[in-house]
């Protein structure tokens, strides 16, 4: 019993630190409600969650990888490439496919497999070859996107099997399926990294890999696992996005990685590894989604949106710094 009670207060304190963005979210909700009557409606808030579901899975993946002390920039390319390759294995040549004619039901497993394979390859180069994660995944960002542009020859894939459109467009119990999926995965992530041995191992590795190894954690194996999981989550994000958009364009996912890092970092995840939580990262995604929504609702001129958008992210960063009381890194 004594061993169990000891860590409880520490966990609670850490929770408060994760929630430094909550005041920002409250401010955004109040300001949004004040600026536009549509903002606080259930329909609009559901839309915000649906619009953020896909990118939130990337944030979940990136948060885990960052906590383990590594980096993955290539996630954004997987968002487009994994579903595209899977779709091309299924659809006929006339629709832009490879003409293999695999059954349509296989699209989702295939896409997840492609994502996992990309993650495994990243892991191989980073864990096995000890290459810099930043540079490896930067190269992979370019290569993986090339594997979308090459086989499709730049064309948008319009004719998609129904199976890949389902998850991103279905409604379960009155809410879009994508929200349930992202919610469930975040719940699993919060629980896993907070309470499971394997999840806690990510913090140990990100804090000090040598010490973790000395403590008996199989560092290489865990890191492999994190990269593979990251790639798989990115592929799932791609599946949700494909369902939402109804086609796979050549720039699907392109440019997301900046938003992903912004969300993770304002949510309190350290770029140096070992610090931050999944719940924090989730609040980061929500802030970004709410800001985008408000800017659209009030119709800020397109010429000025980037300035206001970037400015709000900076302010969120400052508020979370003040509320958190700790230097960010």
């Amino acid at each position: 019993m004594t061993t169990l009670t000891a860590p409880v207060p520490r966990v609670r304190l850490a929770r408060f630190r994760d929630l430094t963005l909550v005041p920002v979210i409250v401010i955004l909700l109040v300001v949004g409600a004040f600026l536009d009557p549509t903002f606080m409606t259930a329909g609009n808030l559901t839309n915000v969650l649906q619009q953020q579901a896909a990118i939130s899975l990337l944030v979940l993946a990136e948060a885990m990888i960052l906590i383990a002390g590594k980096f993955d920039l290539s996630l954004e390319s997987t968002v487009g490439t994994a579903p595209a390759i899977a779709v091309m294995l299924v659809i006929p040549v006339t629709a832009g496919g490879f003409g293999l004619g695999l059954p349509g039901a296989l699209v989702i497993p295939l896409a997840l497999l492609v994502g996992a394979a990309i993650g495994a390859f990243n892991g191989f180069l980073i864990v096995r070859f000890k290459l810099s994660a930043f540079i490896v995944t930067l190269a992979m960002l370019i290569i993986v996107h090339g594997f979308l542009q090459g086989p499709t020859e730049g064309k948008t894939l319009f004719q998609l099997p129904d199976s890949i459109l389902y998850l991103g467009s279905a409604t379960w119990l009155g809410l879009p399926a994508a929200i349930w999926i992202a919610g469930a995965l975040f719940a699993a992530g919060i629980f896993g990294l907070g309470y499971l041995r394997l999840g806690r191992a990510l913090y140990a590795i990100g804090g000090n890999a040598d010490a973790a190894r000395a403590a008996g954690i199989r560092v290489d194996r865990v890191l492999y696992g994190v990269f593979i999981l990251g790639g798989t989550l990115a592929a799932l994000a791609g599946i949700l996005e494909t369902g939402r958009l109804g086609a796979i364009g050549n720039n699907q996912g392109v440019g997301w990685i900046f938003m992903v890092f912004a969300a993770a970092v304002i949510g309190g995840v350290s770029m140096d590894g070992g610090k931050g939580t999944i719940l924090g990262a989730l609040t980061g995604v929500l802030v970004i989604g709410l800001v985008q929504n408000i800017l659209t609702l009030i119709g800020v001129s397109g010429f000025w949106q980037p300035v206001i958008y970037g400015g709000i992210i900076l302010i969120a960063l400052m508020i979370s710094r003040i509320a958190g009381g700790k230097a960010q890194d």
Binding site: Q149, G150, L245, A247, N251, T296, G299, Q305
Partner: protein, 340 residues
């Protein structure tokens, strides 16, 4: 695969130009090579254009060098043009997506007496032999007139803008707004800066429809990017209904790709402005050949339903861009009906 063929092409080119450089100058009239740079490889419209280029080159008997691709990066375009000139290009065809930053390159080409044909965009500065371009302002105006008429001059419409950093995006946007303001002052326009991104388009349209459920018209600046997300949003909202239904939202697109035609036939969207990918390729090479032969052109109407206008730095052939509706969607001459 692409890389491999590019290397092979470069190797081949080195051999060809090494043998040919002595003869091209002597050949005189009609001789010489046309160097062409493609602006990007990731959009449906440009990919169609890229496919038309070799086809039109053989029809017009233009000696085309293996094309380069600057992937939407003006720095790459500058390098590619230098490489093409180095390999013996006598005329350059390019489509600078950044119309300002290309000025120096145009100056250098002028000094070397190499004529330039630009496609789709009009460089701000620097001499051009001919700009081959559809009037992007006319796209916006046509879309505005179509929606204005369908809505009877009142109600709310959304325009899904392209990138405001590109002249074509700005032209469509400004012309649409100006026309709405002057001809249909009863219509409220919401402008969504989607940056040519499907993801942003879907989110912005969904949010705007939540806020204004009485929106009755949509103008999409690029069908290749905006079509599928728009249809998906409308479908989820239960608004994808035939024009006879009072809930119908009138959608005008821009590009003229086969998928838009398909959507028009199904009644999902109502019209599109067909941006002539085939004519872009054809007349780019036509003027490239004419430049090599030393021909000159004057402002005024042409023999192919277009008008040449005078620019401070050259001439511009403004190609026609027809509005495609249910009535003429099966017209065989539309390029969207010719691609598979």
């Amino acid at each position: 695969m692409k890389f491999g063929s590019a290397v092979a092409a470069a190797a081949l080119l080195a051999v060809v130009t090494a043998c040919g450089s002595g003869t091209t100058t002597a050949a005189g009239e009609g001789g010489g090579k046309v160097g062409i740079d493609h602006p990007r490889a990731d959009s449906d419209f440009w990919n169609s254009y890229i496919k038309y280029v070799p086809q039109m080159a053989s029809e017009l008997k233009v000696d085309l060098m293996p094309p380069t691709n600057s992937q939407n990066d003006v720095a790459k375009l500058v390098n590619n043009v230098q490489a093409l000139v180095g390999k013996g290009a006598k005329v350059i065809v390019m489509a600078p997506q950044d119309t300002g930053a290309i000025a120096n390159t145009l100056q250098q080409l002028e000094n070397k007496k190499i004529p330039v044909v630009t496609v789709d965009t009009r460089p701000d500065k620097g001499k051009v032999y001919m700009v081959v371009r559809a009037d992007n302002r006319a796209y916006g105006t046509k879309a505005c007139e179509f929606l204005g008429e369908k809505l009877g001059g009142k109600g709310k419409v959304v325009q899904l803008q392209g990138s405001l950093g590109s002249i074509n995006g700005r032209d469509r946007s400004e012309a649409f707004l100006e026309c709405m303001k002057s001809k249909y002052p009863g219509i409220t326009v919401f402008s969504e800066p989607t940056e040519w991104e499907g993801s942003k388009a879907a989110s912005m349209l969904q949010t705007r429809l939540e806020q204004n459920p009485d929106i009755k018209g949509i103008y999409m600046h690029a069908g290749g990017v905006h079509l599928a997300p728009t249809l998906q949003v409308l479908k989820q909202k239960g608004l994808l209904v035939p024009p006879s239904d009072p809930k119908h939202i009138f959608v005008v697109s821009n590009d003229g790709i086969p998928q838009e035609f398909e959507a028009i036939r199904k009644g999902d969207i109502d019209a599109t402005v067909s941006q002539p990918a085939d004519l872009y390729a054809k007349y780019a090479l036509f003027y490239a050949k004419a430049a090599m032969e030393g021909k000159t052109f004057k402002p005024g109407p042409t023999d192919h339903d277009s008008t040449i206008i005078q620019l401070p730095n050259g001439l511009e052939d403004q190609l026609p861009a027809p509005l495609v509706t249910k009535d003429n969607v099966d017209d065989k001459s539309l390029w969207g009906n010719q691609v598979k």
